[in-house]
Amino acid sequence: MKRLFILFLLSPCLAFAQDDLLAELEKDSGNETEYTFATFKGTRLANGHTIETKNEGSLEFIFAHRFGAINGGWYEMYGLDEALVRLGLDYGIKDWLSFSIGRNSFDKTMDSYVKIRALRQSTGAKTFPFSATVLLGGAYKFSPENNSDVSDDFENVDRLSYTGQVLIARKFSTNLSLQLMPSIVHKNAVVASQEENDQFALGFGGRIKLTKSVAITTEYYHNFSMKDDSPYFNPLAFGIDIETGGHVFQLVITNAVGLTERAFITETRDDFWDGDIHLGFNVTRTFQLKKAK
């Protein structure tokens, strides 16, 4: 009887000695840092950027356009008769560093950006609540063709504008990501009665995933430097992201037609709530130029 009792006492020990190896492996693997990934599907939210950078060695071709206003009526085929286009390339130099160039038919603008992934949301050994990417950009307006068309003292350098943004995003769950975009746009030349040279704006946006491949998005920028008699409006956009393999299709409705920060943050001429809404697409295709080892 006593022996039986001992056996009984020892039985858990025996079981432990044989225990499952998997539990041991799991115990060892607990202390890792898990970085959040795929906060957004693309490098663009709607008009502006997301925190996402291209991975090292991947090249993204972006074809984006904005049709005319849908309140143009039947004569304008609800805006479909005209379109403004931006063609762009984004390349991942490093996973944390992207470079992009583009041509926007709005104001015949050439633009260029550098995106630096500064902070990454993570859980586990190292927990951090959000991701942050710094964006620095410049844009050059080729329109109008001659400096003298603007004024006698207008110089080429006056065609330049610069953008600085800190994109801050948190993926709250698999399906919900939100982003804040404190932004500054500097324009070398402005009509002083209507605008400041330095304009500060705060953007807010997010996405809700409906299925694994489809998400709805929104993006709004509030320009704090807008003067009382400014002819411009703040840009608002709603979109649907559809992802198929290497493509992302973004279907958007917005009051902005330009696709550089200067154009959509500070020079949006249409009022969303007045029905000046434009349909648009961003279509991206990613190519892996450099194969990972």
Partner: protein, 180 residues
């Protein structure tokens, strides 16, 4: 009574010695599938595994996020859409190697039987492989097919032509004895 009990307690830590524990020094788990448009392959060398040659018990544990793809975008999609790695951060196998002789130092045909967990779904599998005991090291290899639907991995219809419905998994471990 107390004497017997204390004897057991003293002997208990030595119980480990009766096991022949091996820990993976090098690991390689890869998968391959032939799609209509492009083949999909990825490999993971950060897998951990324990093998007990005395009992034949074996287990391995991996993070789907550690699979490296040539195309990084594919890697993101693999984790985001198919494996749902945020929801199911680990895949594992736990079972037994059967049909070997621990004294045999040649390449032996064995079977691995046990539970394979992928994408939060656990299924019993019974797959062939080889075991090779050489001096201090043990090599374990296996190659088997995994059907995506068995593990509830859904391929969005919009990309169906890209993804085959089953993938070939290759497992290769090199073990060394656990030294305490």
């Amino acid at each position: 009574m107390i004497r017997i009990l204390s004897l057991f307690i003293i002997l208990l830590p030595f119980d480990g010695f009766t096991q022949k524990r091996y820990f993976s020094e090098k690991s390689f788990v890869s998968f391959f599938s032939e799609g209509v448009i492009e083949e999909i392959k990825a490999s993971n060398t950060k897998v951990t595994s324990i093998l007990d040659l005395a009992s034949g018990e074996v287990a391995y544990l991996l993070s789907p996020k550690d699979f490296q793809f040539e195309k990084k975008l594919m890697q993101v999609h693999f984790n985001e859409k198919y494996m749902e790695s945020e929801k199911y951060p680990k895949s594992s196998f736990q079972g037994k190697i059967v049909g070997y002789d621990a004294a045999n130092l040649t390449l032996q045909q064995v079977k691995a039987q046990g539970k394979l967990t992928i994408h939060g779904v656990t299924r019993d599998i019974d797959v062939p492989g080889t075991l090779h005991i050489e001096g201090n090291t043990v090599t374990l290899r296996s190659k088997f097919m995994v059907k995506l639907e068995d593990y509830n991995i859904k391929v969005p219809q919009i990309v169906w032509q890209n993804i085959a419905q089953q993938v070939e998994v290759t497992v290769h471990f090199l073990y060394r004895p656990v030294t305490n």
